[in-house]
């Protein structure tokens, strides 16, 4: 019998993913299981004659589901009509921890499907004096091929492939538990009885199949663990690692990001210059190319962050972070596993939200996703810098603190505190009957398997580009169209009004170009919309010019600065823009009061702390929750929060 489709199943931390990676290499695909948020990872294994699809099922301790997402494993295995129902199963078990691992094996075996057993890390188990007796095992499980592997260094993988090629059949069998009938009902007496019976069976079986020399190893708490969970050093080390991580991301990511920025900028200009002027050229050079650039620009940050997180995960350090942070996060309706996604969001919410996959509790995962964008990300820095330089005087407080720095720090703190408070509110609002549990295995410390780190990094980048990228590109084209077209000949008329220097200097011509750009934006649908919302944003201190920039910066927060430059007809030179600041300072309301007062400036900063001004984040939230409902709720609640908070700040300071 030739297998077409084989599923890998096993406990977490057994090296199942390593085996999957060894079997399929980069030939992997991430897809959907219908109706749930877990991803389906599958890949192709080429054999001598045919190709087999390998599905990597989510790691699990039992096939009894505890949540809708875990239900998927059971559905795939039990329902023969399920599109992902495999022909055979490979159960990956950790050879050094057979008792608990064999529980899943016996459950799977009783499903009456062809099963292969992979004993991973058997060489580590050997070291502690164990030996696996295959003959004794086959006496009880005749049709089950057993392969001993060390996936870390690739030993035994070819034997798995040989067995798949040969085919195997364990369905002519004697069940471990007769009349085995899994129901989705949880914690029924039946289930507990059955599990106890299975353990009894395993306890009787193990002495037969494992030849163990009498040197029961004494378990010792490692020195590293003593350090990592220390009440003082544990947190200090974590803070140190975080600082290093951010340093790395901010210092390293900026080079490729600047490069991507300039490559796409040059490409835009090139297209504009070389192709005949017209709608298509504009669409290409101002819509599609910058849109693609807006997707690609995130890759360095995502890749670097997942490189670091992957290393921390692989070494086993991450589970220690969860262990020491869990107690602190729990009161907010979060989980120790929320810490890393939230802190990653201080660099960029996109990888932060993608990192929430490890949170198995539905409610805790959703809360983490919902509040992650409140953490101040790097895209807010240009906005904060401009506004702080504009309205906050550079002076010392208490003799040594720089006031501008203090304001910047407060904005970061405001984001963090708000994230925690909103979590607290959502904890009460979101109803769930799924009990929050931690129960996490703390694996032994080991060197990272680089293959796994890089494959998961590629997977994340791929998911971002192909799933979120589509939405980002679509939204950027819409935003471009809104900012480029106006009703009737409004834009043309506005441009005609600008006096064209007949034989001006280059400076004059450049100034003319800037003014044309401004006229275009001001009279486009986006500009008109910005003016229309002025009555709404006036109570929080903004004029229509800010209104337009708020709308355009929905693409990404830092676009605010560029839009302001366009509106004030000054060059956008990226860094602290003195020309722009001069013009903004000079801006007056009709009653002569300056627009950029301290109150308005602070109000705008607070607005940017809260508002969901990032389509890329919305796209990734949609990707991770598999529904538009959550990104919509997110944009609404964050918008409301932004408006109310800005209103309060504006009233207090004016």
């Amino acid at each position: 019998m030739k297998f077409q489709k084989i599923a890998l199943i096993g406990n977490p931390n057994t090296g199942k993913t390593s085996i999957f990676n060894r079997l399929t290499g980069l030939n992997q695909h991430v897809g959907n299981f219908p109706g749930v948020t877990v991803d389906k990872k599958s890949g192709k294994l080429r054999l001598s004659e045919n190709t087999v699809e390998i599905i990597d099922l989510p790691g699990t301790y039992s096939i009894y589901p505890r949540s809708k997402d875990e239900q998927v494993v059971l559905d795939v295995l039990k329902n023969k009509n399920h599109p992902d129902h495999p022909d055979a199963l490979i159960v990956v078990v950790d050879a050094s921890n057979l008792e608990r691992n064999l529980l899943l094996f016996t459950q799977v075996y009783d499903l009456q499907m062809p099963v292969m057993l992979v004993l991973n890390m058997s060489d580590i188990a050997f070291k502690s004096g164990k030996k696996f007796n295959q003959d004794a095992f086959h006496e009880r499980f005749p049709g089950v091929p057993v392969v001993e592997t060390n996936a870390r260094i690739g030993i035994g993988i070819s034997r798995i492939t040989e067995n798949i090629d040969k085919g195997f059949d364990s369905t002519n069998f004697e069940a471990v538990i007769a009349d085995y009938n899994i129901s989705s009902e949880q914690n029924s007496d039946n289930q507990t009885d059955e599990t106890n019976k299975r353990y009894q069976f395993i306890k009787d079986l193990i002495p037969k199949i494992i030849h163990q020399e009498e040197n029961k190893k004494q378990f010792k708490v490692s020195k590293l663990d003593k350090l990592f969970i220390h009440p003082v050093f544990g947190y200090l080390i974590f803070a140190g690692i975080l600082m290093l991580l951010f340093q790395l991301i901010f210092s390293l990511a900026s080079y490729p990001m600047d490069m991507i920025d300039s490559v796409f900028g040059t490409l835009s200009e090139y297209i504009q210059a070389k192709l005949p002027a017209g709608l298509f050229t504009d669409l290409l050079s101002q819509g599609i190319v910058p849109g693609l650039g807006g997707v690609i620009i995130f890759i360095p940050q995502i890749a670097l962050l997942f490189l670091c997180l992957g290393i921390l995960e692989e070494t086993g350090y991450m589970s220690r972070v969860v262990f020491i942070m869990d107690r602190l996060m729990r009161p907010f309706g979060l989980n120790g596993k929320s810490v890393v996604p939230l802190l990653s969001s201080a660099a960029c919410a996109i990888p932060g939200i993608m990192a929430t996959r490890t949170i198995s509790n539905w409610k805790e995962r959703f809360i983490t996703i919902m509040v992650a964008p409140l953490m101040s990300c790097s895209a807010r820095i240009p906005v904060y810098t401009l506004l702080i330089a504009l309205v906050i005087p550079s002076q010392k407080v208490l003799g040594f603190l720089n006031l501008q720095g203090l304001v910047l720090f407060s904005l970061y703190a405001l984001g963090l505190i708000s994230a925690l408070l909103v979590s607290l509110v959502m904890k009460w609002l979101i109803k769930s009957n799924e009990t929050s549990i931690l129960m996490l295995e703390l694996p032994e410390f080991k060197a990272p398997r680089w293959g796994n780190v890089f494959i998961s990094l590629f997977e994340k980048v791929r998911v971002f580009i192909f799933d979120a990228g589509k939405v980002i590109l679509a939204v950027s084209i819409i935003l471009w169209a809104m900012a480029s077209f106006g009703p009737g000949d409004r834009i043309e008329k506005a441009i005609q009004k600008i006096e064209k220097p007949a034989k001006g200097t280059t400076v004059q011509i450049a100034q003319y170009d800037l003014e044309v750009k401004n006229a275009k934006l001001e009279n486009s649908y986006m500009g008109i919309l910005g003016k229309t919302i002025e009555p709404v944003i006036k109570p929080i201190g903004y004029d229509w010019k800010i209104g337009i920039s708020l709308l355009t910066s929905f693409a990404a927060r830092e676009v605010f600065v560029g839009s302001m430059a366009t509106i004030y007809s000054v060059q956008d030179n990226g860094e602290i823009n003195l020309g722009l600041m001069q013009k903004m300072r000079a801006e007056k309301w009709s009653d002569g009061k300056p627009v950029y007062s301290l109150a308005a400036g602070l109000s705008l900063m607070v607005f940017y702390v809260y508002a969901m001004q990032c389509m890329a984040t919305l796209a990734i939230v949609k990707r991770e929750t598999k529904s538009w409902k959550w990104p919509l709720i997110q944009i609404l609640y964050m918008g409301a929060l932004a408006y109310v908070a800005s209103f309060i700040v504006f009233k207090i300071f004016s």
Binding site: Y61, Q186, I229, F323, P331, E441
Partner: protein, 93 residues
């Protein structure tokens, strides 16, 4: 509020340590080796069982997180971390 919960927890921990009612994994001293005698019925019983905490299983309390919660135990050679409220559902002797 969260700090009240934290306070509650400290009090509870204190009670756990001094209650003579029943010994559970939650009030077992660091370093001591015990045997699971019973799982108190709850909606996570099956999960506890699946993690290897069946009746008769030997468990050793290895270390605790900074606020005394969660704790880490050695079950048959692997380290499981669990919260105090989860551990308090595991009666031991």
């Amino acid at each position: 509020m969260w700090y009240l919960e934290l306070f509650d927890n400290v009090v509870n921990l204190h009670l756990y340590n001094h209650s003579k009612l029943s010994q559970t994994l939650a009030n077992t001293a660091l370093g001591s080796k015990v045997k699971v005698s019973k799982l108190i019925i709850s909606d996570i019983s099956s999960k506890l069982l699946e993690m290897g905490l069946y009746q008769g299983q030997e468990v050793e309390v290895l270390f605790k997180a900074p606020f005394g919660d969660p704790i880490a135990v050695n079950i048959n050679g692997y380290v499981l971390s669990l919260r105090l409220n989860e551990a308090s559902l595991v009666e031991v002797i």
